[in-house]
């Protein structure tokens, strides 16, 4: 069965430091992978997605993610974190077929220290 694991429930980084949020998936075929961000009291906003091709994908707000098939991972990175990046981050994998169903990880809460 397909699944997504975000090993870190909570991460704290200092403003200006680099960030990496981990995501591991379990899926038989080539996955469609997504990262979403949720600010407090808001819905989810798409940061970036991977469908095929270049394994390093660029997203909004200066985020990038790298697909590594051998490690079944799709980690999210940002070189320099801003206080406004404090939020909850969700990794998701698309289930095959035409339904567009997504399976989400448990989420990682990012806290940014001044």
């Amino acid at each position: 069965a397909q699944s997504v694991t975000q090993p870190d429930i909570h991460i704290t980084v200092s403003e200006g430091a680099s960030l990496e949020l981990r995501c591991n998936y379990s899926y038989g075929a080539t996955p469609y992978l997504f990262w979403y961000v949720q600010s407090p009291g808001q819905g989810l906003q798409l940061l970036l997605k991977y469908f095929s091709g270049d394994t390093l994908v660029q997203g909004i707000k200066g985020f990038e993610a790298e697909f590594k098939r051998s490690q079944s991972s799709f980690n999210l990175r940002k070189p320099s974190v801003h206080w406004s990046d404090a939020a909850e981050y969700f990794c998701a994998v698309g289930v095959s077929g035409n339904t567009g169903k997504l399976i989400f990880g448990q989420g990682t809460t990012l806290q940014v220290k001044p």
């Binding site: 808001q42 819905g43 567009g100 169903k101 997504l102 989420g107």
Partner: protein
């Protein structure tokens, strides 16, 4: 920009009530989804719809039903609300591509 609108940001209801959560999208999307979000569990799919009057159960459909009479509107119904249905409910819609667009959520409390 795609807009997915959920009718209420906060809702308080009583045990046993029939509760309706409404979601409207303005982009003629075929697919619409209802999730519930609980701390430590991420988002779990309740129901989705791939066309008017068409629906499929997600991973946790028990205690819920849905209605899609018009393409732009997808309603989630709690037939007889219970306290374990207190949660954040998120609606999403999807165009032909894979990425889903989310509303701001409804925080529902069942007393």
């Amino acid at each position: 920009d795609v807009k997915v609108t959920q009718s209420s940001r906060y809702l308080v209801k009583r045990t046993g009530e029939k509760v309706f959560l409404e979601c409207v999208q303005d982009m003629d999307h075929e697919n619409m989804f209802w999730y519930r979000q609980d701390p430590g569990l991420g988002l779990r799919l309740i129901y989705f719809s791939y066309d008017v009057k068409m629906k499929e159960k997600g991973d946790i459909p028990e205690g819920y039903s849905v209605s899609r009479e018009k393409k732009e509107r997808f309603s989630l119904i709690l037939e007889s609300a219970s306290t374990n249905q207190t949660s954040m409910y998120l609606c999403a819609s999807r165009p032909g591509s894979w990425a889903q667009h989310f509303g701001d959520g409804t925080r529902l409390s069942i007393l």
